[in-house]
């Protein structure tokens, strides 16, 4: 029963594999829960900041703030791609990389020089492999990104934008719409598109002045945009991993059913054959 022995081995392997994928699914589920809580916790800050900036913003101010400057021509752009450090999360990293390549191609079509900054081992690995020059590569951002991580990523880029070294900044990340919808997305973070909201026209007492407040808040607004991109991507990664591991677990289950059925059929056939042989043998002796 050589085939049976082989099948027993495969059944065991598949069982072990299913155990691992199921564990990973459960780990990702609990990590995703915490990560999506962080996405939700980041919302009030973003809302408050957006509210205040939109109520202070007017077209005259735009001319005076370097971060609001709309460059006449786009000559050099920075692209910040956020990917995961780890794989085994389905098409998550591949989708982000695909989005990045679209964005890079679109910028190249417009003859824009691009500085590519990549976060996460997977994105770095891909662009190194294709021989692309990376201006910076970061792998030290964990799956619980902090506001400091965002600041360390974007502060240098803001300075470059202010000095005119770059004309725009694009951030490519995953949006965390829901567990099942985490599409890759390109955001233009610089120059800052001031949020405009209706009904913002309250007369505030402003201390020290609208200019001073905006000077303080615009960098926070940019940092927050990057922070949100980081937390949403972290949550989306766990969601993608959960989905991938769930389908791997389901597939392992299906394969196990098939293997067990095949094994049992082979075993039965074997027994039937042995009985037939014994009966045949006995009949031959009697005859």
């Amino acid at each position: 029963m050589a085939k049976g022995r082989e099948l027993v081995g495969r059944i065991k392997t598949t069982e072990n594999m299913r155990k691992i994928t199921r564990t990973m699914e459960m780990v990702a589920t609990s990590k995703m829960k915490r990560a999506s809580d962080r996405v939700a916790a980041a919302r009030p800050y973003a809302t408050a900041l957006g509210d205040v900036i939109s109520s202070l913003f007017n077209a005259d101010l735009a001319e005076r703030f370097p971060l609001l400057r709309q460059p006449a021509t786009e000559q050099r752009a920075a692209v910040l791609l956020i990917t995961a450090n780890r794989g085994l999360c389905g098409g998550f990293n591949a989708n982000l990389i695909k989005e990045a390549r679209h964005t890079l191609a679109a910028l190249a079509d417009k003859d824009v020089q691009v500085d590519l900054h990549v976060v996460g081992r997977k994105g770095i690995g891909f662009f190194r492999y294709t021989g692309h020059d990376l201006t910076s590569a970061r792998t030290d951002i964990s799956d619980r990104p902090t506001a400091e991580d965002a600041a360390s990523l974007v502060d240098g880029l803001m300075a470059q934008f202010t000095s005119g070294a770059i004309d725009s900044l694009y951030v490519i990340h995953s949006k965390f719409n829901s567990v099942l919808s985490t599409p890759p997305h390109t955001d233009r973070v610089l120059p800052v598109a001031a949020p405009t909201r209706a009904g913002a026209g309250r007369d505030y007492l402003l201390y020290p002045s609208a200019d001073a407040i905006l000077t303080e808040l615009l960098p926070s607004y940019v940092r927050n945009a990057v922070y949100r991109a980081l937390v949403e991507t972290a949550a989306a990664e766990q969601a993608a991993r959960r989905t991938a591991m769930k389908s791997a677990t389901d597939n392992a289950g299906e394969m196990l059913n098939l293997l067990r059925r095949t094994y049992n059929r082979a075993r039965q056939a074997n027994i039937t054959q042995e009985i037939a042989e014994i009966v045949g043998g006995a009949a031959a002796l009697q005859g």
Partner: protein
Amino acid sequence: MLKVSVVSPEATLYEGEATSVVAPAFDGEVGILPSHAPMITVLGRGTLRVDGAAPARFAVSGGFVQVVDDVVRVVTEHATKA
């Protein structure tokens, strides 16, 4: 009563009602009582005090306070509960 919330990028640190708020503005402390005029002011570094049923202290640095219709929002990048 004032409706007070203290938010940082990572979390909402405080949410509740208070009778007064003392915030470390860029040029000294600013006290906020109910019926305050709408105001936005930049914060410096110091202690934020929220007094009322659930008093709390926070060390803050930077950010701003927005007061409108007895709703006080303290929005700061660096805040820790003291």
